[in-house]
Symmetry: C2
Subunit: 297 residues, 2 copies
C-alpha cells in the first residue's frame, strides 16, 4: 500500500494552497508537512507541488491528490457502515466539473439536495469538461457530449436553452436596418472565453455562415447578462436568467423565435460510491426539472 | 520596426483561439496565418502558440500579443485625430483584470460608461490582479493593494463590504449553541478558490484565530450566494448581493454587526491613451458611487 500519511500531507497542501494551512488542518508542524511532501517527491523522483502563493499541483501531484480524495470518499462510506472505526476528521470532498451556465441556473439546487459531502467545483465549458474526467481530475462532470468517457457512465439531462439577447437601445444603435448578416458582422458581441463557441454556433444556425464580429471577452455568466443589459453587446444568455428581463422589455431577442438548445449530460466515474450515487440522483432530478427534455431519439 | 503583419496574425490566433477563425478575421487564408506565425516563431527562435483547442499563448506569445494590443489602442486613437487614415477594422481591445466580486456588483456599469472600446476581462482575486499588471498582461486592474505597480498609477476606489451570511436553517443545524469558535471550526464554509483568504481573514478579525473549517470550493460570486441560500455553508458575500436576502430573512448574518471591508484600488498603465483615461474616469466614478468611502488617512 502507498504511504497515506505522506499522501494526506500532499493533498492538504494542494487543497489549502499552503504548507502552513495544511499543517494547521493536519494538526502537525509546517516542517512536518514539508518533510512528508519532500519525501514523497524523492520517492517518486518528481516535483509534486509548485511552491508559490498559492501552492499548486504539478500534473503528477494532481493525479495523486485525486487518488487521495477518491480513497477518502470510500473511507468516509466505510466509516458510515462501521461506526466502530474512529470518525473521519472531515467529510469527503467530491471534485466535480460543471459549466458556468449550469452553476448559475440549476446546479446549486442539486448540490443542496445531496448533502453529507463537500464540493470542489471546477468551472469549465461544457465542451471541455469531459477532458477533466478523462484526465481523472474530477469524479463527475456536466458535459455537452453524451459519449461516455472511459470508466464513466453518461446520463442525458436535457437541454439548456439560450436566447440571443441585447438591450433595446443597443439594437437601435447597431441594427437600425434590421438584424442582417452585414450588421451582425460589425456589431460588438459578447464571448465568454476562447472556448466559447455558442455565439458562433448560433450565427451558423441562423445565417448559415459565421462572420467574425468584434467581441468583448466576459468570463462570467452574470456579467454576460449585465453587459447585455448595459448595451455593451449581444450574447447568448440562458433563458432562465433573461426571461424576466425579456418580459420587462429590458432585453429583447435579436431574432425572435430563434433560441439555441445545448443538450447536457451528467457523466460520473463508475467508482462504487454511495455518496456519488446520491449526488447523481439529485443532479438528474434537478437537471431534468430545470432543463428542456432532450429531443426524442 | 517590428513586422506588424506577422504580429497581427499572432494576435488574431490568440484572440480567437484558432488559425481558421484568425484567417477569417484577417480576410486571408488559414495557411497564410500559419506561415506568418511560423515565420515569427523562427525569427524569435521560440514557440509562441500552443496549438490546441483552443490555441493558447506561450509566455512569449502573450507578451507579444499584449504589445500588439497596446499598439492597436494607440493606433485607434491616432485614427480618431487623423480621419484621413483608413479606418481600423475593429475598435481596440483593452485587457483588464478585475476581481469577480467587483464584476458582479459595480464594474459592468463602469465599462458601459466608457464606450468605444472592446473589453477582454481577466478575472482574478484582488490580491493577485496586480500580478497581471506587473507581467504586462493587462493594461489596468482592480487590486487590493494601493502600492503602484511599476509604470502604473494607483487610485483608491473605496471598500467593498462583505457580510458573513448563511441560511437560517443552516445556522440552526450547525450553530445550535451560538456562533462559537468551536462550532466555526466544524461547520462547513464556502471558499471561492485557493487564493481566497476572505473567510480566513474575517475569522482572524472576529476570533483572533483561524480554525480550519471544512469547506466547499465554489469559484463563482453568484454561486456563493446561491450556496449560502441553499444551506451548503456560510461565506463572505458582498453586501450588494445579499442586502435583499437579509431583509427578507432568507439569509442571516453569522455575527451581526461584524462586516468586513476590503479596500480596492484601480491601477492603470501610464501608457498615454485617451481611451484608457476615459475608462479610468468611468471606473473611478462608478467605483466611488458603489463602494464605501476609503477610511480617512
Amino acid at each position: 500500500m502507498l504511504d497515506y500519511a505522506l499522501l494526506a500531507a500532499l493533498a492538504a497542501v494542494l487543497r489549502t494552497g499552503s504548507f502552513d494551512r495544511a499543517a494547521q488542518q493536519l494538526h502537525v508542524t509546517p516542517s512536518a508537512v514539508s518533510q512528508r511532501v519532500k519525501l514523497l517527491e524523492e520517492r517518486l523522483g518528481t516535483v509534486l507541488v509548485v511552491r508559490g502563493q498559492p501552492c499548486t499541483a504539478t500534473p503528477a501531484g494532481l493525479r495523486l491528490c485525486q487518488h487521495v480524495e477518491q480513497v477518502s470518499l470510500l473511507e468516509s462510506e466505510l466509516r458510515d457502515s462501521l461506526p466502530a472505526l474512529a470518525p473521519a476528521a472531515a467529510p469527503a470532498t467530491l471534485r466535480i466539473a460543471v459549466n458556468a451556465d449550469s452553476l448559475a441556473t440549476w446546479f446549486v439546487g442539486a448540490m443542496a439536495a445531496a448533502p453529507g459531502c463537500l464540493f470542489d467545483l471546477v468551472i469549465d465549458d461544457q465542451d471541455h469538461s469531459a477532458e477533466w474526467l478523462r484526465k481523472g481530475e474530477v469524479l463527475a462532470a456536466v458535459t455537452a457530449s453524451a459519449a461516455p468517457v472511459g470508466g464513466c457512465s453518461s446520463h442525458a439531462l436535457g437541454s439548456l436553452r439560450y436566447i440571443a439577447t441585447a438591450s433595446p437601445d443597443y439594437l437601435r444603435r447597431h441594427f437600425p436596418g434590421g438584424v442582417t448578416a452585414q450588421a451582425l458582422a460589425a456589431a460588438p458581441c459578447l464571448t465568454f472565453n476562447r472556448k466559447d463557441r455558442l455565439q458562433a454556433n448560433w450565427l451558423q444556425a441562423v445565417l448559415g455562415t459565421v462572420p467574425s464580429p468584434p467581441t468583448h471577452w466576459m468570463p462570467s455568466t452574470h456579467a454576460f447578462v449585465d453587459a447585455a443589459l448595459a448595451g455593451l453587446g449581444w450574447g447568448m444568455n440562458p433563458e432562465h436568467l433573461v426571461a424576466g428581463h425579456l418580459r420587462a422589455g429590458r432585453l429583447v431577442e435579436l431574432m425572435p423565435g430563434r433560441p439555441f438548445d445545448v443538450p447536457l449530460h451528467w457523466q460520473q466515474s463508475r467508482i462504487a460510491s454511495a455518496t456519488l450515487a446520491a449526488l447523481t440522483r439529485a443532479v438528474l432530478q434537478a437537471g431534468r426539472a430545470a432543463l428542456r427534455p432532450a429531443a426524442a431519439a
